[in-house]
């Protein structure tokens, strides 16, 4: 498999698209750092993941289109080895792109990052690394399973947007308050009484547990708590109830959620790819 990896690295490094995406990642990081007020805006993460989607789908699609996978299979490599080598290549490249993003982001966002303790920063960085691995696994699996290059490119970008909308919708459902208040006024427009009603949209019980875990398993669902983790050190803590941020303790388990998603999706992709006919 080392030959596959070496050939892949050489091919990718020589292609101008790699340089283009690297520059794009650095620029996204610079913009994210320049506009960071208290914390990072997740729009820059989404932009970075869209760059990953374009990078992975175009490279894997090229292999499909030019029959590169079939040639590798003919020379004796198993489909499992081909899948693993493509996944490993893209993971390493995308982690390098994440590094470029952070190189652009960190110096300009120093004001927001300075109050955050080093161990928290290390944890957040680890979470972003694992989130990147999970996103790459999703995108790589999709691109390997869809052989039409244009279709896989569109589906990859739509997948990133879909993950974003899914996380927003789950977040919205989970943040619906349990109670809402209706106020009753008299003819002089003075408040007579206020009634507390249970919100029918409040999600509780098993559904709440399921949605919470699902939100943390979706890579972009993790971004909101991670962003808050940086932001909370920049607020005036004397005004804030300590318990308001107790839910952020879950962040230390995010790498495990990402690992779980990586193993599940990667495993499914591996099994399906091995059974597929290569063009």
């Amino acid at each position: 498999m080392s030959n596959l990896l070496r050939a892949g690295f050489t091919r990718y490094l020589k292609h101008p698209l790699t340089a283009l995406v690297a520059v794009a990642s650095l620029i996204i990081g610079l913009l994210g750092g320049r506009n960071a007020v208290y914390t990072i805006d997740d729009v820059y993460l989404i932009a970075l993941f869209i760059a990953f989607a374009a990078f992975i789908s175009l490279f894997v699609g090229r292999e499909h289109g030019e029959g590169g996978f079939r040639n590798k299979a003919v020379t004796g490599y198993t489909k499992g080895q081909i899948f693993l080598s493509e996944w490993l290549l893209h993971t390493v490249f995308c982690l390098c792109l994440l590094l470029l993003f952070l190189i652009g982001f960190a110096p300009l966002a120093q004001e927001a990052l300075a109050p955050v303790p080093a161990r928290v920063l290390a944890l957040i960085t680890l979470c972003f690394v694992m989130m990147t691995v999970a996103v790459v696994t999703l995108l790589c699996t999709l691109s390997l399973l869809v052989s039409q290059r244009a279709v896989s490119a569109i589906l990859s970008v739509l997948l990133v947007i879909g993950l974003l909308f899914a996380s927003y919708k789950i977040e919205e459902a989970l943040s619906t308050p349990q109670y809402y208040y209706t106020s009753h006024y008299d003819e002089q427009n003075e408040l007579v009484w206020e009634e507390q009603k249970e919100s029918p949209l409040y999600v509780e019980g098993a559904a709440r547990t399921l949605l919470t875990h699902l939100n943390y398993a979706i890579p972009l669902g993790q971004s909101e708590p991670l962003i808050q983790c940086i932001g909370v050190w920049n607020y005036d803590v004397s005004w804030i109830d300590e318990h308001s941020y107790s839910h952020l303790k879950i962040v230390k388990f995010f790498p495990l959620y990402s690992l779980g998603l990586t193993i599940t999706i990667g495993g499914i992709g591996y099994v399906i790819f091995r059974r597929r006919d290569l063009k």
Partner: protein, 281 residues
């Protein structure tokens, strides 16, 4: 050009792509209306019982639909080399360009109408009538048609000028997302309040909430505001937000179709000029 048009329309209606687009937009309209009806049933008397705001919300995502449809439909022509065949049989490059513009414009308009038709059709039995004045809905309807034409013209220009099908797909998606995000950023910038009500100011060296509203440094004024307003009205992303989300008729609503027509004209002229100079595979 008549033959080109009839052949391309035939290809459009015979292919799956157009019907998938119709189904996607119709499905989106159905999901949005049914979700509103569900909210109206659960949250009674809370103002969710009318289809207001639903009718044009699909337009805010329409750039993605146009990007997917145009890139795959036109990209297939690049990949199959059919343009060269058309040139060989005597058709001009400008004619080919205008044919594809016409066909994709018709297709995207039909998809937009599918969304609106489904929302209207389902909201009639499920929800109460509109509270929004009919005049506003009618004006926005015609503005939305112009915006769809402009979005499509922009996508067609991009798709006709790039050779590789996959690169077309990625570029069109990036353009759609860029226009959507750009529109949203410009809208947020323009919506920044002139004064901040609860700004933090330093009183005797201590950060305290200001007793009086303070001027917002991010509020745009003068030429900068005029320029941003122009961009908001000119670009399809901003137009889609004005029509789909603001819920009120702007004073200068006439600017929207005028700018859409201008954008369509400019992108078509640029695209046709670029396509004429291109070597076709």
């Amino acid at each position: 050009m008549k033959n080109l048009l009839s052949a391309t329309f035939a290809r459009l209606f015979k292919g799956k792509l157009f019907w998938i687009g119709m189904l996607a937009m119709g499905g989106f309209g159905a999901v949005a209306t049914i979700a509103r009806a569900r909210d109206a049933y659960i949250l009674q008397d809370m103002g969710y019982d009318t289809p207001d705001g639903l009718l044009f919300i699909g337009l805010t995502y329409f750039l993605i639909t146009a990007a997917v449809f145009d890139s795959l439909f036109i990209g297939a022509e690049h990949a199959d080399g059919t343009w060269r065949n058309k040139l060989i049989v005597g058709q001009g490059k400008v004619q080919i360009y205008l044919t594809y513009l016409t066909v994709t414009t018709a297709a995207t308009l039909l998809m937009h109408l599918a969304y609106i038709g489904v929302v209207l059709g389902l909201s009639a039995p499920l929800l109460n009538p509109f509270l929004t004045p009919t005049k506003m809905n009618v004006v926005f309807f015609f503005c939305s048609l112009a915006t769809v034409v402009a979005m499509n013209a922009l996508m067609v220009t991009l798709c006709m000028l790039i050779q590789s099908r996959a690169v077309i797909a990625v570029s069109a998606m990036l353009l759609a997302i860029g226009l959507m995000m750009g529109g949203m950023t410009i809208y947020q910038t323009l919506s920044a309040p002139e004064f901040l009500e609860s700004a933090i100011v330093s009183i005797d060296g201590m950060p305290m909430p200001s007793p009086d509203p303070v001027p917002n440094p991010k509020y745009l004024t003068g030429a900068k505001r005029t320029f941003f307003q122009f961009l908001h009205d000119f670009l399809p992303g901003g137009q889609a937000l004005t029509i789909g989300m603001t819920g009120e008729l702007p004073e200068s609503v006439w600017r929207l179709p005028v700018f859409s027509a201008l954008l369509t004209l400019l992108s078509t002229l640029g695209g046709a000029w670029g396509f004429r100079r291109r070597d076709l595979k």
